[in-house]
């Protein structure tokens, strides 16, 4: 386990010394702050605008970080030949994969928490200013749902990192990004694909759509942003099942990466 932590620590260190990460984080903070400006020209919908735009900013930036840093996780180590150093030491290949994953997952945890704190302060600022209005329009502040939305968002990042990690262990960064975004898009519209499968008459296409629906993670499950704005039922059961869903998917993705990487030759 110590070796896994060492690899994770180094992956984290690499991420926070990467200029790409800084530009994305700065961009995210600007997006969150800009929601305040847009809110001022939006009549009485400040709360919705700040929460909606802010959560969307966290989502977009987090996904971009997951994909762009995820694509290089393993590929870069092979390309820059640093794997020769790593694997001349007594570390198993699956320990390395796990360490790489945990390193980026931890990086994203810090970034998500950071962005969430900034956004929450903005939400507090706007909501307390117009407390009466908010309660009238939205029936409360829905802070619990807000944090829940961010938690679900982080679960989605965990799955996306897992997908990027798989592609990173056997293909080039460009293809990695392409495939990961493709799977991400399918995952986000997974529900629609299911609907399509039910409507369709052609049995071959229906089976195909059903398979896609079953295999690709249903990322729509992690979107509870409207509950964060309007309130709604986020039961303990839903939180539990969504968490379990994310963990099981992530584990499956990790195991697949480990299997692919186990057989990999470093030329």
């Amino acid at each position: 386990m110590n070796r896994v932590i060492s690899v994770a620590h180094n992956t984290f260190r690499e991420a926070i010394r990467d200029r790409v990460l800084y530009s994305l984080v700065i961009f995210a903070v600007l997006m969150i702050l800009s929601s305040l400006i847009i809110a001022t020209i939006s009549g009485e919908q400040y709360n919705k605008i700040v929460k909606d735009l802010g959560l969307a900013a966290i989502s977009i930036i987090g996904i971009m970080i997951s994909v762009f840093l995820g694509m290089g996780l393993v590929y870069k180590e092979i390309e820059k030949k640093t794997v020769y150093n790593i694997f001349s030491k007594p570390i198993k290949r699956y320990e390395f994969i796990l360490g790489k994953y945990l390193g980026l997952a931890f990086t994203l945890l810090l970034i998500t928490v950071g962005m969430a704190i900034i956004l929450f302060l903005l939400v507090l600022y706007t909501e307390l200013r117009y407390q009466g209005l908010i309660e009238f329009y939205y029936g409360g502040h829905h802070f619990a749902e807000f944090f829940n939305a961010i938690y679900f968002q982080y679960l989605e990042f965990l799955i996306i990192i897992g997908i990027a990690l798989i592609f990173s262990s056997f293909t080039s960064p460009i293809l990695s990004v392409l495939f990961t975004f493709l799977l991400f898009a399918i995952g986000r519209f997974s529900g629609d694909i299911r609907l399509f499968a039910e409507e369709i008459k052609n049995p071959v296409s229906a089976v195909f759509a059903e398979v896609i629906y079953r295999v690709i993670p249903n990322l729509g499950k992690f979107n509870v942003r409207s509950e964060a704005v309007y309130g709604g039922s986020l039961s303990g059961e839903l939180i539990f099942y969504t968490t379990a869903y994310a963990i099981i998917y992530t584990l499956a993705l990790l195991i697949l990466s480990m299997i692919i990487f186990e057989k990999k030759e470093f030329k």
Binding site: N2, R3, S6, V7, H9, N10, R13, E14, R17, D18, K80, K81, T82, V83, Y84, N85, I86, F87, S88, K89, P90, I91, K92, E265, F266, K267
Partner: protein, 305 residues
């Protein structure tokens, strides 16, 4: 310590997966406590052999017995130190961060690790740059920090792929001393190089690798005894006159920098000199061409072409 037997390695290249054979049956064995040199031109398969030994590449045939292990268990690596060719490291790390990371992968930690790092950094003369990021290191500095990380676990068996490359003469001297110091401690060292003078100065035994095959193995002395010693005689004077006098002897003649140069074997030295004395030419210098691995290397390389 290490026994490699009939090692074969094929790579698939290109879109159609055309097979290329890099190693065509490499066999050699490294005894405990010796410095073994792996010599050969670029592309002969030195690095590929190391990759197979360390399990980075899967062998296509043959056997490798490393310290009693034949199927490359990961645990054995805690007794090995390895310096890759042209070491590429994480350029965002500082020298000491790299050493700490590599030490941690060996399971060394705390004060033991910090002490070991101090010793190694001063040994490779890099204490001054320990807090500098590797992206700012010169090639020689990378080579030194690379050697330090290879020694972090105090390995019994040290594999160095081109340890002298990129170093200036002083750096080479220091690394040579370091390698000899490890040998004195009873360590076994396998190093590859195409710097033949370094190999000659360091290695107890040498394997000569050409196009994926070991063509010669032996001690430096054994290999050098196979080479004829030639002499070179530099003369000033008219070429025709000299040619006349050495006509019956097997002498090579050539002109170099305004001098006439005669090359001949040791056994006819006296007769050549006698003939020259009879001519009008003046002897400028006479010297033996040093017996060297280079001669053997060039000889074998030309055979392979």
């Amino acid at each position: 310590m290490l026994e490699v037997n009939n090692l074969i390695k094929n790579f698939k290249t290109g879109f159609l997966g055309k097979e290329v054979t890099v190693l065509r049956g490499v066999s050699f064995c490294v005894e405990s406590g010796e410095i073994f040199g792996f010599v050969g031109p670029n592309g002969a398969g030195k690095t590929t052999t190391f990759k197979c030994i360390l399990g980075f590449a899967l062998k296509s045939g043959g056997t490798i017995n490393l310290m009693g292990e034949t199927n490359g268990k990961v645990g054995i690596k805690s007794r090995i130190g390895y310096l890759p060719e042209n070491p590429y490291f994480y350029d965002y790390l500082t020298g000491e961060e790299l050493l700490r990371y590599m030490g941690e992968l060996h399971g060394i930690k705390g004060k033991a690790l910090e002490d070991k790092m101090d010793v190694l950094l001063s040994k490779v003369n890099m204490s001054h740059a320990r807090k500098v990021q590797l992206r700012k290191y010169s090639k020689g500095m990378l080579q030194r920090i690379g050697i330090a990380q290879a020694l972090i676990n105090d390995p019994e068996f040290i594999i160095l792929d081109e340890p002298m490359s990129g170093l200036d003469p002083i750096g080479r001297r220091e690394i040579k001393d370091l390698i000899l110091e490890e040998k004195a401690k009873g360590k076994t060292i396998l190093l590859s190089s195409h710097m033949l003078s370094d190999v000659e100065a360091l290695c107890d035994r040498v394997a000569l690798l050409m196009s994926g095959r070991v063509v010669r193995t032996g001690t430096i002395g054994e290999l050098l005894n196979e080479i004829h010693t030639d002499y070179e005689l530099f003369l000033e004077g008219s070429g025709d006159d000299i040619q006349e006098h050495v006509r019956d002897l097997s002498v090579e003649l050539e002109e170099r920098a305004g001098y006439l140069v005669l090359k001949f074997d040791e056994d006819i030295k006296a007769r050549v000199l006698e003939a020259i004395m009879k001519s009008s030419a003046e002897i400028v210098s006479l010297h033996p061409m040093r017996k060297s691995l280079e001669g053997l290397f060039v000889e074998e390389a030309s055979k392979n072409e």
